[in-house]
Subunit: 190 residues, 4 copies
């Protein structure tokens, strides 16, 4: 029998993410994806049960890829401030290098589709960042609030700025990056 062609699957994933970025979720159809991925539309149904399954798996893949990149090279033994700095810079780097991936995830997150998909393991992907904030809390560096609150005030604004840069409304240079990290820190520090 013929070999499973991983290139095809990869091409499907890529085409999906690119299309969602270019024309949006609503306009992204299986046939457009197939055309962009240079496969037959029927081929997509070999690897995925249906459109929803495909989008869900694309989302999961994107999320896993992101968590790998975000924490790669992070030293959990380093001082929290250093870890925080490292993480923030990694985050910005990721969004700028993998903007399509990130924007795709954002669109999924903000649509009611998401809630139909299983999300159990998802949280585990971000454990390192949770640990960092817990450590910071126990060292009395950060406010004694829920970690999710700390994340919303420190990580999310940086993500927002990176998104703005993708849209051409902002530009990260070393100075502005430092400013942002400082503001994040100010928001959550005791």
């Amino acid at each position: 029998m013929r070999q499973r062609d991983d290139n095809k699957i990869e091409a499907i994933y890529d085409a999906t993410i690119q299309l969602v970025n270019e024309i949006g979720f609503a306009e992204t159809s299986i046939s457009k994806i197939a055309k962009k991925a240079n496969v037959s539309a029927a081929t997509i149904y070999i690897y995925f049960e249906n459109k929803e399954d495909m989008l869900g798996k694309t989302y999961l893949k994107a999320k896993k890829m992101m968590s790998e990149k975000l924490f790669h090279g992070m030293d959990e033994a380093a001082p929290v401030r250093e870890q925080f700095d490292f993480f923030a810079r990694n985050f910005v780097k990721f969004i700028l290098n993998h903007g399509d991936n990130f924007m795709f995830m954002e669109q999924v997150t903000n649509s009611p589709l998401l809630q139909n998909w299983c999300l159990e393991e998802t949280s585990s992907l971000y454990e390192p960042v949770f640990r960092m904030f817990e450590t910071g809390k126990s060292q009395k560096l950060f406010k004694q609030e829920d970690v999710n609150l700390l994340i919303i005030y420190s990580v999310m604004p940086i993500a927002q700025l990176a998104k703005a840069q993708i849209k051409g409304e902002f530009l990260f240079d070393e100075r502005s990056l430092q400013t942002a990290i400082q503001m994040s820190w100010d928001a959550i520090k005791i």
Copy 2:
């Protein structure tokens, strides 16, 4: 000739926003909207040029409504800290009371559709908040950074928390609201 029936337009707007919230942008079709609004699909084309026009106008209407609510009762002569507090509370109130409206806007914002629509006048809707931050900057209360940066670090996290509450993942009480406002303030204060 019959008069323009504002009830029908209103029903169309409402149905659109509700549907986008319930089933998402991609699944929201003209006929579903018509059914929910209790009008014929053809009627929609009396009031709007086409689907995109309809969505765009719905978006604008939502945005205008939001700016009205956000700044209603705001006293630009009051101290910045008070204005800030007032605005934050108004914002939370708005999202909790008009969740559908807000989530609809979020979905639009995160999709490439938006970029096709005119956005000139949009910014003017939020001038009061810009003015407040400029005042704060000139009074050396806030960091001397771009106002958009200040907004991202102070307003957006609060919006995020309100969204979380809509999804049942967070709950604003007086204490947590004060905490949030304080964190917002900490992020941007000098």
Copy 3:
């Protein structure tokens, strides 16, 4: 608004029955029906919920039409033997004149589809024939068996012969018709 065009519905019914006869149930698709009926495929979905609904309604229409023709002109006051004769001749006439209709019904009857469709009122359509057999039974003309049994032995063979004629394997003339009626009578008479 545009008038409901009954011609279109009729054309859809006719095309369905013809196609099922020509190429069979399995090969009869909505688009082929649409083409034959000279309407858009989408038009079919104005009048019917889906394919199954369409087939079911076509079946019901065919059945109603048949019962009207079968009993039209039948005199329930006449002697049973005369009624029987009249009915048998009507039946043969119907099948020969409306072969497509009848063969369509046969195909539906022999497929598992049928069991999914509601059939309550169906039986009422054939009440006159039930009454005839009951009368015959009470007059001790017929065997004291279940009417369905009497029908199977007297009516069905005639139907079978008419079907054979449609396929060119048999030919009803006055003599063979009389023979058939006699055999039917012999099977069920006391």
Copy 4:
């Protein structure tokens, strides 16, 4: 080179017949058959030229199997009445034991597909029953009519009753079986 695997062919035949009974001709696809038969769809094309060939061969196999069962143990030297009785009982037994087989054949018979398939040898399969009726005719037991006519009036109603039993609308016990046989006999006897 591996040998022809009769188990697989058998599995394909069985799956086909079962599926046609469960979901009907129109819904029976190669891939569904393959799944039910636990083979790859491609395997089917090793044993059959295409779908039509497969269905045709399944039909022929079913017909052969039936004729074997129907006449097995029949004594052509016995009196016609005994042969008739034996045959009728065998028929009922067959339908009740091999309902799927029989209903499959009925569906094929009533569809235009059949006419595309070769039917020469088919008739030879039922020669014993033809011979029995010819004998009965020559012994002046049966009406001097075409044998097909005699069959339609005597055999077909019994088949119909057996079908009714499969659908749960009738029940053969010894008494009703005798009644049916008697009615068959009455229809065709002189």
